[in-house]
């Protein structure tokens, strides 16, 4: 069993008390896949603190494989240089924004774990491994229905998906 749990993510999820005012997506690779699901190279929750969520690329040495955990970083929005699209704002009045206002009212957060089973070859005797890492983050409405999952994906590489449930 190989466990690659990023302690920085665990600290962020444990200590921050989110007070967000906006959800943004980077324009690169942006697409709205359906009413509830967006794809982008990164998503930003703007506020105190602002968090940037995106797919990272990491290599295991044995077996040498590439995998794609979620990365969550505190960012200074004033120095962020990539073009973004606003998906929702606190107090926004569109039908979609009204459905996701819980996101701006101190949501709960937890990390989502993925497990992969790489092997060091294709022969029957090849050694199989079990790799666990954090692939996403989930924000939920602590006082009712509603969640947002931001998931790193390797299909295609280095994109993330933001999926709401209502």
């Amino acid at each position: 069993m190989i466990i690659d749990h990023d302690e920085n993510l665990e600290i962020i999820v444990k200590i921050i008390n989110p007070k967000w005012i906006e959800l943004k997506a980077r324009k690169s690779d942006f697409a709205q896949l359906n009413e509830n699901t967006f794809k982008s190279m990164s998503f930003m929750l703007v506020g105190e603190p602002s968090l940037l969520c995106f797919a990272d690329s990491k290599d295991l040495v044995t077996p040498r494989i590439e995998y794609f955990p979620i990365c969550i970083q505190r960012v200074d929005t004033k120095t962020y240089n990539f073009e973004q699209i606003t998906l929702a704002r606190a107090g926004g009045r569109s039908q979609f924004e009204e459905k996701v206002q819980w996101l701006f009212n101190k949501p709960s957060m937890r990390l989502l774990e993925s497990e992969e089973e790489p092997a060091d070859g294709t022969e029957p005797e090849a050694q199989k491994y079990s790799l666990r890492f954090y692939s996403g983050i989930e924000m939920t409405n602590p006082s009712g229905r509603g969640s947002l999952r931001i998931i790193a994906s390797d299909m295609p590489d280095l994109v993330s998906y933001a999926k709401f449930t209502f």
Partner: protein, 85 residues
């Protein structure tokens, strides 16, 4: 295309000798005549994507890999690692 295939989530990781220069040369050869979109991730990974989905990724340390979608690699999706780092 590469050697020593190692399966992981939906793909095979393989190896080719060489480093960044060899990865760039192979990518140019595989994608000749196609438009290539260039982007940089929030972590500093450079990603070059050709029209057919073939991708060259170079991380901030200069490590390179080429990704070939299953439609190109035919049997399976392949991530080629260039071993000389």
């Amino acid at each position: 295309m590469g050697s020593n295939p190692r399966p992981s989530a939906g793909r095979f990781n393989t190896d080719l000798p060489g480093g960044l220069d060899e990865a760039k040369a192979l990518f140019r050869s595989l994608t000749m005549g196609q438009a290539v979109k260039t982007e940089i991730s929030d972590r500093g990974v450079m990603r070059f994507t050709a029209d057919d989905g073939t991708q060259l990724r170079i991380n901030a340390e200069g490590y390179a890999r080429i990704d070939r979608p299953d439609s190109i690699a035919r049997k399976y999706r392949e991530t080629i690692h260039f071993k000389n780092r």
